[in-house]
Point group: C2
Chain length 132, copies 2
DNA sequence: ACACTTATTTAGAACCATTATAAACTACCC
DNA sequence: GGGTAGTTTATAATGGTTCTAAATAAGTGT
């Protein structure tokens, strides 16, 4: 069971709920973006038994902490997550309110010239807003 | 009165409340970042009469629409705004939860190679996350 | 100055995503 | 199997933001 090891290796107990959420999030061809509500719906569609909303929140946060998910920095009333945890960027279509991946290779190298004393760069994320 | 014209020119009636908010936001040396709560506090400090929270929200949104303020795309429980409406970017210090301006000149030119059909780029914003 | 229309302000309620709570349950280790 | 710590769960609470509808103020024409 591929997800059992993944979870155990990061100190998370492989519970039934977490494994089911892993299936929904990671057992797919393409990575994708989602809100908690959208994830809850996907779980309902794929699964017989119900998973509590609190568990969905807990699990998503646990996965984010372990680096299996990334939060997408965007101003919205709901938080967006990404199953693509490689370094990459996003288009945000203001008209359709849709996120589109922008691979690192689609953006020239970004050179941050300014340094902040005693701090190191953890990530560099580009958000390109689109309109019609 | 400098702000009266500014407001009238953009179709906003120069009310007492809006003018007071203009003073707090724009009549300062440096641009700055703020949340609605922080702005409310600044208004309280600088002003005798109270401005309703709803008015603060209304005004900030009106100013944003007119291009006098920018929302900063960042995941936080509160929305951050910026009185610096020039093209620029941000550091976000994850430890202190502080935003720091990053001038365009501190970031090399960003070349977005991917195009989306029928959409044009409205803005390109870089968020650089920092940690200790 | 006055009347009239339209925009704005306001307090409070409503909304809704997210977080906290605390009790029941389950995985894991000996 | 028994004990312990981690997890799930329904539900309540929180808190930022938006909505509502009535009161007020600004603009416009006379």
């Amino acid at each position: 069971m591929k997800y059992i090891d993944k979870l155990r290796n990061s100190g998370l107990r492989p519970t039934k709920q977490r494994l089911q959420i892993c299936e929904v999030l990671f057992n797919v061809e393409k990575t994708f973006h989602f809100t908690i509500n959208e994830l809850e719906q996907k779980i309902k569609d794929k699964t017989d038994n119900k998973i509590s909303l609190a568990t969905v929140y807990n699990t998503v946060h646990a996965f984010e902490k372990k680096g299996y998910l990334k939060q997408i920095p965007i101003n919205s009333n709901q938080t967006y997550f990404d199953t693509n945890v490689t370094d990459h960027h996003h288009f945000y279509d203001l008209n359709d309110q849709k996120l589109i991946d922008l691979e690192n290779s689609d953006v020239g190298p970004i050179n941050i010239k300014k340094k902040i004393n005693g701090k190191k760069i953890k990530s560099v994320e580009v958000l390109v807003k689109l309109e019609d």
